[in-house]
Amino acid sequence: METLIDIVLLSFLVFTALAVAKMNDLFAVVMLSGIYSLLSASWFLDLDAVDVAFTEASVGAGISTLLFLASLKLVGRYEKRTRYRPLLALGVVLVTGTLLIYGTLDMPHFGLADTPVHQHVAPRYLNDSMAEVGVPNVVTSVLASYRGYDTLGETLVIFTAGIGVTSLLRVSRRTKQEEQRNVPADMQQQIILRVVAKWMLPLIMIFAFYVQFHGDYGPGGGFQAGVIFAAGVILYTMLYGLSTTQEVFRQELLELLAAAGVLIYGGVGIVCMILGGNFLDYNVLRHDPVHGQHLGILLVELGVGITVATVMITIFFKFTWRTVKHKYIIK
């Protein structure tokens, strides 16, 4: 049954990708790419990658679609037809594809247990992580502890992307404060939607915290929780307007928190060094190494969650502010 679902979902993915390539209505393309990520998350779950499915579910289907839609609003909806027939591109693609498929013929078959991939460090993670880290979710223990340095880098990349978007789509402070008060909230006619969303918002926030702190025992963790929290704030922004949301989530606060998340992560590493361990070696945080690991993972995941949530909210605010500006101010 797993194999059947695998085959069917992969075929759906190919059809969706072909439709994406063919359509020239970009709105439809973006919605199909939403379907594409729904499909890929189901496929990840089918292949036992629960944490990846979790991330793809919250990131791909939610935030990514919304960002694409917001920027479509700014750049127009239709793609112009290309004037020439892209035979050269087709040729390049066909040749590359054939070569890659020829390359796969030497690959070990799908699902075998004795392939080189499974021989290197994976057995150590699976067999010893319970004694060394004491967290049942191996993905979390590898992410936050064994490969913590790597994850610090990823968090920094996200932080940097946040800075990049902020500086690319910046608004001068004066216009912002003057004009923002006059911007009406969107979707005012959708009363039922607003009421239901108000009901759902606290549930979303609580669920985000559950994902954040339950990540040691089940699928979840800082990345997913941050994105879910951001999705809740984004829902509120879409229904009640940017200025209402910014009463709470001020720009200065968001910038401060985004930096604070990275600082927490790096700070844990420095504290470990001060206490006599290596950078991000949590064993020294407490007397019992396993307790130290628990504390370290908790703090590090918290830092990741804060950074991811605030960066996603910042990015969405920036795009929304552009659309609002185009609609109400540049006339």
């Binding site: 970009l26 594409y36 036992d48 990514s64 594809g97 499974h118 191996v138």
Partner: protein
């Protein structure tokens, strides 16, 4: 089992090539970004495919199971997805700025504007006046 032994990898190649085609053959920058994300997810599929073991379960330890899939690809791809959305957001911000300063996000229109500007500035450097070089505006037709 052996019939689909390489099926996953072939689908990965097909998806990657569709994404590649969209990136190199389409001129609209948003479409290119969508193609790029298809390309990106095909890489994710490849990693996760290699991590799967038939009959295994998800790598969350439980006393009832003793065969787990490989957790390492999951860790790499999990962070890659979030980084992917961050870079996509950066790309979209660039596209928005391009639209604001060029008035178009079609690649050939942007390039023809660039060439025109370049030629104008070169001609001005040779001492031509602005009014003389109006005629090159139709050059890209």
């Amino acid at each position: 089992m052996n019939i689909i032994g390489l099926y996953n990898y072939w689908i990965v190649v097909v998806l990657m090539m569709i994404g590649f085609y969209v990136v190199i053959a389409h001129e609209n920058l948003i479409k290119k970004l969508v193609g790029l994300s298809i390309f990106q997810t095909s890489v994710f599929f490849f990693y996760i495919s290699t991590g799967k073991i038939s009959g295994a379960t998800a790598p969350i330890l439980d006393s009832r199971y003793n065969l787990y899939s490989n957790p390492l690809p999951h860790v790499l791809i999990l962070t890659a997805i979030v980084v992917g959305i961050a870079t996509t957001a950066l790309g979209l911000a660039l596209v928005v700025r391009i639209q604001e300063s060029y008035g178009s996000i079609e690649e050939h229109e942007i390039q023809s504007q660039d060439t025109k500007d370049q030629m104008e500035s070169q001609l001005e450097a040779y001492g031509f006046k602005k009014k003389h070089i109006l005629s090159i505006q139709n050059l890209d037709e």
